[in-house]
């Protein structure tokens, strides 16, 4: 399955994942302490510069990932334009953009396997409750079965369309989709049992 990691290898890719995540935590916490739009703009500029060190492609992807925020930018702008608290509104928008862009940057420059390594290190203290192998197995099963279940739901949608005048699938495809997931779950449990169980 595709991940959101950028395929173009940058210098940021080579930094240790744990370090990047720690810096991200501190940076995000810092953003919430800052009130002044000037400082927040500076933070956003730093994030933008880090994007640019990864090349134009990475920077574009980073910018594209911010698109989901436009409704909030519009709402905050209108709201604060109405109430007149423009400085505060600017700070809110800058903080939001910087926080989301920084987090996206870490995602784009960290491989899934490195993320999973950090995760298993973080989870070590709770290993008696949740054995790392079981979590790894669950993660692998999801990645394996998203395309399988997706194809299955595609078939259900087609079967539905073949006998319906509507273009979009109706809500009636949802029950067979849930049943497909339940059936697959039973078969996976059986296949796991056949190969020694989930440990």
């Amino acid at each position: 399955m595709l991940t959101l990691t950028s395929p173009v290898e940058t210098r940021l890719h080579r930094l240790p994942a744990g370090g990047k995540l720690a810096v991200l935590c501190l940076f995000s916490a810092g953003l919430f302490l800052l009130r002044s739009p000037v400082w927040l703009a500076l933070c956003l500029a730093v994030v933008a510069l880090l994007h640019l060190t990864g090349g134009r492609d990475l920077a574009w992807r980073g910018l594209g990932a911010l698109r989901i925020l436009w409704p909030f930018v519009v709402i905050v702008t209108l709201w604060h334009g109405w109430t007149g608290a423009l400085v505060e509104g600017t700070a809110i928008i800058l903080r939001m953009l910087a926080a989301v862009a920084a987090a996206n940057l870490v995602t784009m420059t960290t491989r899934l396997s490195d993320m999973i390594d950090v995760l298993s290190r973080v989870m070590r203290p709770i290993a008696p409750v949740l054995p790392p192998r079981r979590l790894a197995l669950a993660v692998a099963l999801v990645i394996r079965f998203v395309p399988v279940l997706s194809a299955r739901v595609g078939q259900i949608v087609d079967a539905h369309r073949a006998r319906s005048p509507r273009r979009r699938p109706g809500w009636r495809v949802l029950a067979p989709a849930a049943l497909a997931a339940l059936d697959d779950a039973d078969r996976v449990a059986e296949a796991l049992r056949a190969r020694g169980g989930a440990g």
């Binding site: 709402i75 039973d186 796991l192």
Partner: protein, 180 residues
């Protein structure tokens, strides 16, 4: 053990797949995304504990960088956006919906609809609105105005969750783990 694990993993996959399918048509050409419906179904079909774990696993994979949220979104950025409260509320919503399914003796449709309304709307909005209030520097009541736009769609989804759960209860009574 194997059954628990496989059901959690497959419903995590189901949430993801419901975010991938083209929008689903409600009765009169009103398109909806089915992903949040998947969250509710985790609770009403798998029950409180397994349902919440399936949703947690989903969030974990999103955080690790898989584009599993509707529209191919994912990564750490979504946890820094104003909608983070809704994400964090997802597992709690599934848990509450599952709890209502498990602890009441209502017929599957009514129990699942009630669970989806209380968990998937009541609890979820509490988290979501609080998150928006914090991230956008607004009061709770100011932020809740923004959430109201989604209320009619989510009420419809809750009814759909009830209908789907009822259909599953009829087709595979033994698979409705919430009532196991």
């Amino acid at each position: 053990m194997e059954r628990s694990l496989s059901h959690i993993a497959l419903f995590t996959a189901l949430i993801a797949v419901l975010g991938l399918v083209p929008r689903i048509d409600l009765a009169a050409g009103v398109p909806i995304t089915a992903q949040s419906l998947g969250i509710m179904l985790c609770g009403t079909i798998l029950g409180a504990r397994r349902g919440a774990l399936a949703v947690l696993l989903f969030l974990l994979l999103v955080a690790l960088g898989l584009p599993l949220l509707a529209g191919g979104r994912g990564g750490l950025g979504v946890f820094a956006s104003p909608t983070v409260g809704f994400l964090l509320g997802f597992p709690v919503a599934a848990f509450v919906a599952g709890l209502i399914m498990e602890r009441t003796t209502l017929a599957p449709f009514w129990a699942a609809t009630a669970g989806a309304v209380i968990g998937g709307i009541g609890v979820l909005y509490l988290f979501g609105i609080t998150g928006m209030a914090i991230m956008l520097g607004k009061s709770f009541s100011e932020a809740s105005v923004l959430a109201l736009a989604f209320l009619p769609g989510d009420v419809l989804k809750a009814v759909l969750a009830g209908l789907v759960t009822q259909a599953v209860a009829r087709a595979r009574p033994a698979s409705l783990l919430a009532r196991g």
